[in-house]
Symmetry: C2
Subunit: 556 residues, 2 copies
């Protein structure tokens, strides 16, 4: 082992995938490094792969095993993929948590939701103010993104300065929050940047990003041209967009009402932390119900087609007494996240059935991304001139593209997917070792490992169906066999043909089975499972999951 | 009831959705119409909504109940969403089936796959040849699409001529099959068109469609510039694209090998029905394994990320002894169908991890759609000048857009989603009544109704887990309770804490329960289910599905 202090970077989640961000920085002698953690996010489950799971997050096992060497957690911004696991994983980590005011307000609520002390989350001032954590000095660099008070982290270490961008875009007029200031970036870069750990989400977007401020006139015109009720949706946490939409509504002469719990909550955080500035006047639901629809604009939750959100409820019929009808307009001021196309499509079609005009982001006029596009990334590379660039926040293909972009400009770069421990000490990044990483699932109220088999068992029942069998044995004799098929064709009555087929076959084979077999639960289980598979494959073409319960009666 | 003969159109599937096309045309007195059916397609299941299901199709119940009045089935082309249910539903219908040669070759194989007589499928010649079926005379109009020998149907009825386009594009140089011929269209239109029932898939695509023939030079350049092995994928049935890709490979000086069972099969149908024309030379797998990778091009299955196809296998490591490596190029000469983004993304990221360069359709240079875009649809409207336009083949939003496009040109139009019986007799289309439509699932070897509850039961087990209980009662006394939780946290050992918790609680409550309750299976079931819900909600935060099996021992 080296006797030199090393500066290391280790992503535990969010690298090679979009979601559940969790990064470690370490500094010190090998095996004695002090660590800080950046972000504790979640990703969302799907029927395909994680049915019934509530949330997915990176497993912090690596740092749990070295907990005495973790000094602090820094949260870059309040999106779920950066903060969503805080309340759930905090009990395992229990070190100070830092965040800017808006983010801290969300973080504290997350802590309370999970029964944790909200006040361990400490509010920080931004750059040039520094927080010391072991060998690290960390400063929050305000950056524009699709949520208030996003920030990069300027991490000063004995081996040099790191800029960890978090999620960001370059926006000189972001409507909410600090504008992009190239001079400030240049000041941060002055002493030289050891490593830029940088958002890669939009590396495939060839045009420079557009400012939030470019949207107002397009949206105002859209609303002015609309005849019926106007309804718009966006991400609840995109408070700047809420402001853009509300302002456009007011500019078009409409009364504006914001609906949906998560939007209300985000607005409340934004108000309490005073990030909103002058927000256009809103009306309450009761008043909205009396405004003529051609004078009304609703801003609602559910841009991703979430089944319980306001947009889906409006698409199904009614939300809080409000309904949409022919001639109304619905605007998706958002992009559809890959994987949500079908649920968003369902809403669009429902609105189409009602005669509601649906406008989406196809034209590029009603939504701007919260991430830096390729030319913006290049601008940031050029200002910071880092020795090393580590692409972050992207699927593997994004990381690769970003690495190649950096290398094309002579910046040393490496792809660091989850578990890749990278040594940043030298001029070039080096892969030291690969750490096994895992995912945790919040399933009901339990945290389980992705490989525990619980969810796999559910997937097997979902695709193959189930046969439960209760077998009663008394003194080496089978006296009862009961089969109940679930989720198999022809099995929905209380006593049906498939159940009977299975019972008859199992009874027959067990009655002719050797006593030795009847005495072994394992052997009986295997035999009965084989019989169930054979009967079901033949009768319905599927081999179900079997649950064999062997009850042995013993004489008193 | 009217005493007049009516011409009616009734979609049973594929209208208001993309997939499982099934349309009826009827002519005659109300209640005595003679019918023909057009297409019998499937749509594909997903974990989200239809876990474990093999195929989904429209339920032909309406026409089954009037089977003596169905005269024939006409298949427009061999895509699964138009032909996939033929072998499965034929036994319910059993009338002559017509198709062009290539389509018939596929149709016959579908029939054989399901144990049906392939020779009921009759090969037809195309326009001006007519097939008589009751009051209908049907002629096949060759149209370009992304499969050989697609065709529209010219349906002559006593009430006028209908053109049912099927899926089509306008392509004056389609590489395989007949070129678009406006003069032929004009000839068909000469006597006047009563109704145009028209593909709506690409009504939102604003630019005129491009010809298949525009791709060769782009793809040839891409291949020439590639250094390592070149691999391309597209839909197996897109035989023209196979030819384009193979020709580009040969033009770039490579040996070309086609891999993947479904592609081999489609090539065989194409060869046997002589639709291919001069196909570039191909090499066999054994030879491909000896060609230097920079001289090799593979054309493989799996453009939609299908887990078992060649592309996914290459992404996971190896396919038929071939592997991809850094410096190779993989081309998606295809579009990703909504809903498949995640599975396609998985492959792209795996290739990125290997260092394989992935090219997709983003640039529009390597793929053209098989459907008519908006200006092409307008061209068709203008040539046919139909009295009525019925938008077909699209989600509801596509149908609406197409209807509005037609109306904007003074063509009478109506949206006819599944189950809408439309009267085409008069100058304007009229909704006569709404027929209940349903879906059938192929589940294993059984056809079940979508609302039978089988799949719902599987979804419930997938999201909530299951507790199976075996309870033994002897002479009004509970002598044994056995609980087995499946797919729930903390339940994977053979005897675990959750199972014990449930068993203890159930035993305790049953022992103190009234004799009357113990004598009723239903009451016991309800009580036990309540106990299971309470214990599990408390212990793991989920209310599972319960399967309670009550075994009553009776004295001999």
């Amino acid at each position: 082992m080296s006797s030199q202090n090393k500066l290391i970077f280790l992503p535990l989640g969010g690298a090679g995938e979009i979601g559940m961000n969790m990064y470690l920085y370490g500094y010190g002698l090998a095996g004695k490094e002090r660590f800080i953690m950046v972000d504790l996010g979640v990703t969302f489950p799907a029927m395909d792969g994680t049915p019934g799971v509530d949330l997915i997050m990176a497993d912090p096992a690596y740092i749990e095993a070295r907990l005495d060497r973790l000094d602090a957690i820094f949260i870059t911004h309040a999106h779920e993929d950066h903060i969503g696991a805080l309340g759930l994983l905090y009990p395992k980590l229990a070190v100070p948590v830092y965040a800017r005011p808006f983010t801290a307000a969300v973080a504290r609520a997350k802590m309370e939701d999970r029964g944790q002390d909200p006040w361990v989350v400490q509010v920080v001032e931004s750059y040039p103010k520094q927080i010391e954590a072991g060998p690290f000095k960390v400063s929050y660099l305000p950056l524009a993104h699709s949520i208030p008070e996003a920030a990069g982290l300027i991490i000063d270490t004995p081996a040099g300065r790191i800029v960890h961008t978090g999620d960001f875009k370059l926006d000189k007029d972001p409507i909410v929050g600090e504008a992009y200031d190239p001079a400030l970036f240049a000041e941060v870069a002055q002493g030289g940047i050891k490593a830029l750990v940088c958002d890669s989400t939009n590396v495939f977007s060839p045009e420079a990003g557009r400012s939030e401020s470019t949207l107002n006139s397009n949206i105002t015109k859209l609303i002015s041209d609309a005849s019926g009720m106007m309804v718009a949706t966006t991400f609840a946490s995109n408070v700047a967009r809420l402001k853009t939409l509300a302002q456009a509504g007011v500019d078009a002469g409409r009364s504006v009402c914001v609906l949906g719990r998560s939007m209300q909550r985000m607005m409340a955080y934004a108000h309490s932390t005073e990030v909103l500035g002058d927000f256009p006047p809103l009306i309450e639901l009761e008043d909205a119900q009396t405004v003529p629809r051609e004078n009304l604009m609703l801003i609602v939750t559910g841009s991703q087609g979430e089944g319980r959100a306001a947009s889906a409820q409006l698409a199904r019929g009614k939300y809080l007494g409000l309904t949409m009808q022919e001639g109304d307009t619905f605007l998706f001021s958002s992009k559809t996240i890959p994987g949500n196309e079908v649920s968003v499509g369902r809403i669009v079609n429902s609105f189409s059935e009602m005669g509601v005009k649906v406008i989406d982001d196809t034209s590029g006029m009603y939504h701007v991304s919260g991430h830096a596009n390729r030319p913006d990334l290049e601008e940031v590379h050029d200002i910071f001139k880092p020795q090393i660039l580590i692409p972050m926040h992207g699927e593997h293909r994004h990381l690769r593209e970003h690495m190649e972009l950096a290398q094309s400009k002579g910046i040393a770069s490496i792809i660091a997917p989850n578990g890749a421990m990278i040594d940043l000490t030298g001029k070039k990044p080096k892969l030291i070792e690969h750490i096994e990483t895992n995912r945790l699932y919040l399933d009901g109220n339990q945290l389980i490992g992705a490989f525990d088999g619980v969810v796999l068992e559910r997937i097997r029942m979902a695709t193959r169906g189930l046969v439960a069998l209760s077998i009663i044995i008394e003194e080496d004799e089978v006296i009862g066999v009961w089969a109940e098929a679930m989720g198999l064709p022809d099995t929905l009555g209380t006593q049906t043909s498939l159940n009977e087929l299975i019972e008859l076959a199992v009874e027959k084979e067990l009655q002719s089975a050797k006593r030795k077999l009847l005495n072994s639960d394992d052997e009986m289980d295997r035999l009965v499972t084989r019989i169930v598979n054979r009967i079901c494959k033949d009768a319905v073409g599927k081999k179900p999951v079997s649950q064999v319960m062997i009850n042995r009666l013993v004489a008193d």
